[in-house]
Amino acid sequence: MSNAVLTGTHFMLGDHACAEGAIAAGCRFFAGYPITPATEIAERMARRLPQLGGVYIQMEDELASMAAILGASCGGMKTMTATSGPGLSLMLENIGLGIMLEIPCVVVNVQRGAPSTGLPTLVGQGDVMQARWGSHGDYEIIALAPSSVQEMFDFTVLAFNLAERYRTPVILLADEAVGHLTERVVIPPPEEIELWERPRPTVPPEEYLPYATDESLIPPMALAGEGYFVHMTGLTHDERGYPIINGEAHERLVRRLLEKIRKHAPEIIRYEEVLMDDAEVAVVSYGITARSALRAVREARRQGIRAGLLRLITVWPFPEDQIRELSRQVELFVVAEINQGQIRREVERAAAGQVPVAGVHKLGGTLITPDEILEALWVRKP
């Protein structure tokens, strides 16, 4: 187990950094199915996990991969899968199961140009709304968008921590450009990597109610083989985990699942503000595009525009309150993202007509350049 955490400075591929982040977070089970541009995560896990007594299993498809990481997590392992858009579309039903059963796990989507097979080798950021709404029914999800290779490492660790703490699948919403980028990564010594673990029952099996919660709304999780005889079902269930088919029970359960995330949103939500203090124009961006946005904002400042950057780290939950707050400060929002304007819709909703919202969008295949964003900043008001 000595080389579980590769402490030191590396020049590393984004996808590899993600794999190393998972390993550093304690992930010892990876089930996956190859897909460009996420394959390198699987390949790295296939080489690394057996060295650490962990298991890499290549499943027959993404449906199976997602089901397998849920099963292994019920057995107590920290588990992950990685895919791209087409594979994510296949995982959605079981992501819903993970949410309903409250099983911690991490799902990586290295986004590529889409829809359909689209542009397998080229960048896209078009799966943002899918991450939030792709599975049927109502739920809340946590999704993180790394902008650098370092963040591929850091946010993967964070994704595991959030998954464990809130007992929920967490999506690492990367993109091809970050996944296929090679940069310096500093991996800290293990003792400096903070790890959170899922809540576990403190009562004996007779007293254990698998889905009873305190005000945290997060039920402690008994693992298979511990004598708790847990029952988990994707049907609407009561505190014992038993199916109960009526509207009241559903309201109780699903409301708690929603509130579990919403209530903790203030501690989950993360973003970075650059030059926002006195900004009159706020660029909102995330993932690879946030880097272009950063250059654009700096350049705008040089040109005398009071621009700032709000970089989303958690794309979901979306920092609505912060946008609402900023609506009182700035005169314009510019949302830059490689899609038709998915987060722009969220900004529009939160800005609620207080401030105009412009967008810089491409549909995939090429990065948005700093100049393209800069141009939008010059048009203060649409």
Binding site: T9, H10, F11, T121, S148, V149, Q150, A177, H180, L181, T182, E183, R184, I288, R291, S292, L294, R295, R298, L367, T369, P370
Partner: protein
């Protein structure tokens, strides 16, 4: 600072970018990003890699794709035609003298022919290290990174059995480039 490598799949174009990026980012502590691109072919298609070095060593490279390279290294005719127009007006061009026929080079560009593939074959006996020969030449001709950082990158990257070979290739490239510069210096 932007450096672009380009050629065919199989020439080690990606590894060249990686070694250079690693030397800069890890062994010289600057901030550098490396990107790569290839076509749908698993083999033999066009292939390129790019390294962008941040002005400020503390700061992440903001836009990591090469847009207008300061330095262009090409190892195929196709790569030459594709990438030359993007080279900065005052940029530096290295090309494999046996694979590329540089019909016309814009004024302002400093161009160095480096017969890397031939040197690799004749001096090392392994065509496969042409990329590292090219890197050796690059380090001398452009000083974009120190030779020692590049050596360290080689040592920590290639499989142990091949380290010697690659270090030798570096020296071959450096020596060749030194010669190239000599007349100008004298």
């Amino acid at each position: 600072m932007e450096i672009q490598f380009a050629g065919f799949g199989g020439q080690g174009i990606i590894l060249a970018g990686y070694l250079l990026g690693k030397a800069i980012a890890v062994y010289e502590g600057k901030s550098a990003s490396m990107t790569q691109s290839y076509g749908p072919e698993a083999r033999g298609g066009a292939c390129s890699s790019g390294v962008v070095v941040s002005r400020n060593p503390e700061e992440l490279v903001d836009y990591p794709r090469v847009t207008r390279p300061d330095i262009l290294v090409v190892m195929s005719q196709e790569a030459f035609s594709t990438y030359l127009p993007r080279l900065k007006p005052e940029g530096t061009l290295l090309y494999d003298a046996d694979l590329v026929n540089p019909e016309s080079i814009p004024e302002g560009v400093t161009a160095y022919p480096v017969p890397a593939t031939r040197l690799a074959e004749t001096e090392i006996g392994k065509r496969i290290v042409a990329n590292v020969v090219m890197l050796g030449a690059l380090v001398v001709l452009t000083r974009v990174v120190s030779p020692e950082a590049l050596r360290e990158a080689v040592r920590t990257t290639v499989k142990p059995d091949y380290v010697e070979l690659n270090l030798k290739a570096l020296e071959v490239g450096m020596a060749y480039a030194q010669n190239l510069l000599q007349p100008q210096e004298v």
